[in-house]
């Protein structure tokens, strides 16, 4: 190798780390305020009064506390599933351009922007025994007595659906518009009817995106906290993990609070692991039909 070539290599090697330093501030911040506090939290859990693992043991051995895991999953998995399943036919119908599409997506953005606290507050009045929902049902003689929709699982589920569904819809709509329209046309000319086009062409191409959508809506729903306390029954049927963790935190029992928070994270990651395990078995390539 000539001296010139060596010199060139050295210059290249030197330039790269020089620019990589640009990422250092962000990395340092994340280590200091995300990784370190997490490790600090894990450390706290081992300093609990009853021994290194007692914080975990007391959470997991107490049926009332442990049940919050199932309550959280029982709320978040159906919310995510219903959102994704409902988003598919809706997005299918809206995949082409039409007038008012932008307005509709803007309207759907509203609950995302309002956030769960506002939605929960609105739901208390709307779904309550004297709210419009029950008044309409009674006026139509669907029911005689008001349907109980607040301070129970149904209220939380409905509030969460209002908050989470728009995200699912926007994502699925994005995935639909990422599929080459000619594929559907090719399928139609080949003799496939609307249902076959959906089942044989669109759905297989959409499935990887649907798993991602499920994962993201699940992440959002799993963190449920304000709606579970406001519209739900925070001491009983909607006592989700966030509430249990927050209760321990507000009692200044930091080792228990951290232990519960960490179990919460692990449960969520386990579900995501399953979802992405399934995704790994699907077709995940280009969604275009060839050269553009």
């Amino acid at each position: 190798m000539t001296a010139l070539a060596i010199g060139r290599v050295v210059v290249r090697e030197r330039r790269l780390p020089g620019l990589v330093w640009l990422a250092v501030p962000a990395a340092v911040f994340m280590v200091a305020f995300f990784v370190y506090p997490l490790c600090y939290g894990v450390g706290l859990t081992f300093q609990a009064a009853g021994g290194p693992l007692s914080a975990y043991r007391s959470f997991l051995s107490d049926g009332y506390q442990r049940g919050s895991i199932w309550i959280t999953l029982g709320l978040s998995v159906p919310t995510a599933l219903i959102s994704v399943v409902a988003a598919v036919p809706l997005a299918y119908r809206m995949r082409g351009p039409f007038r008012g599409k932008r307005t509709l997506t803007a309207v759907l953005m509203v609950p995302l922007t309002l956030g769960s606290v506002f939605v929960a507050d609105g739901m208390i009045d709307f779904l309550g025994p004297n709210g419009w929902f029950n008044r309409v049902l009674r006026a139509l003689h669907v029911v005689d007595q008001p349907v109980v929709l607040i301070h129970n699982v149904a209220g939380v589920l409905l509030s969460m659906l209002i908050s989470v569904f728009p995200l699912a819809f926007l994502l699925v709509l994005g995935y639909f518009s990422g599929i080459d329209g000619n594929l559907e046309r090719a399928a139609a000319v080949s003799g496939a009817g609307p249902w076959q086009r959906f089942r044989l062409v669109l759905l297989p191409l959409l499935l990887p995106g649907l798993t991602v959508t499920f994962a993201l809506t699940f992440v959002m729903a799993f963190a449920v906290f304000p709606s579970a306390t406001l519209v739900g029954d925070p001491a009983g049927s909607t006592r989700v993990i966030s509430i249990v963790a927050y209760d321990a935190y507000s009692r200044a029992d930091y080792s228990s609070a951290s232990a519960i928070a960490i179990v919460m994270g692990l449960v969520e990651l386990a579900v995501l692991g399953i979802v992405f395990g399934i995704r790994g078995r699907l077709y995940r390539g280009s969604t275009s039909g060839g050269k553009g």
Binding site: P25, P37, G41, V107, V119, F126, W195, Y249
Partner: protein, 276 residues
């Protein structure tokens, strides 16, 4: 087959209709209730008044809540963007050992539940004596916002043709000039998108602010939650709804601003454009 399609069509529109009615019903209920003199057991309130707004405004110091909310949000937006731009550039353009680890570091806060890291983070902030202070609230909000801004910006950096930068270098520009005069101006759409999204998220951010903020450093949404949990014992429902309307108007203004700069579907669709 057509019958089946008609059925799915019906279900689709019923679902959408139900969703929209639920959402609009909830919003309308809150709006009406906030201007109702009294509203118990009737279709519409008996009489209308604006005095709940005045009551709420003085009782909960809404003015200072708004001030705190915007101070926090603006600080988070500015700090996120300043730190995110160079980082996004590195992630989009360079290959180096440990890059996947860096990605993981920025993706994790988006994935694990906020409460999972909010609890240890808040405990840590109390230990640092930063809890209940404005800088403390800003810092905890940066934890999800900074990586989020990076993730939004990376595709925008990838869209900037590296040959433009090479051309600038050939014309004699140094790294700082290339960054300041070429890369950042080309990134303006991305900066707007990232900035607006971080702003909306920070104003709506609940768990982190809730755990770390004190009485004088809470944001609007945290105050709304606190008052709502007291509804019945202390706060009148109409006062709560008046607060909710103030919060709603704040976020809707932000949403309108956001939609001027960001097309919600484009965030996903961009993947496709980039490939084409």
């Amino acid at each position: 087959m057509t019958a089946r399609l008609r059925l799915t069509g019906l279900l689709t529109w019923l679902g959408t209709g139900g969703f929209l009615l639920g959402m609009l019903g909830a919003v309308a209920t809150v709006l009406l209730s906030s201007v109702a003199q009294q509203w118990i057991g009737t279709w519409l309130p008996g009489g209308y008044t604006f005095h709940w707004y005045g009551d709420a405004w003085s009782a909960y110091q809404v003015g200072s809540l708004l001030a705190v909310t915007f101070e926090v949000a603006l600080a988070v937006v500015v700090l996120s963007l300043v730190v995110a731009v160079p980082t996004a550039y590195v992630l989009a353009r360079l290959d180096f050992p440990g890059k996947r680890l860096l990605w993981l570091l920025f993706l994790l806060p988006q994935v694990i539940p906020t409460m999972s890291y909010a609890v240890p983070l808040a405990t840590f902030m109390y230990r640092l004596h930063l809890a209940e202070t404005l800088p403390g609230v800003v810092l905890v909000n940066l934890v999800p916002s900074l990586p989020f801004a990076i993730l939004v910006l990376v595709p925008f950096v990838e869209q900037v043709d590296p040959r433009v930068e090479q051309a600038a270098r050939i014309c004699g520009a140094g790294t700082v000039t290339v960054f300041g005069r070429v890369v950042v101006p080309l990134l303006v759409p991305g900066l707007l998108a990232a900035g607006v999204l971080v702003l909306v998220r920070t104003v709506g951010q609940f768990e982190l602010t809730f755990l770390v903020a004190g009485p004088n450093t809470q944001t609007l949404v945290v105050a709304l939650y606190n008052i709502a949990t007291q509804a019945g014992n202390g706060a009148s429902p109409q006062e709560v709804d008046a607060m909710a309307v103030v919060y709603m108007l704040t976020t809707l203004v932000l949403l309108l601003v956001a939609l001027r700069f960001v097309d919600p579907t484009s965030i996903v669709a961009r993947n496709r454009d980039r490939r084409g």
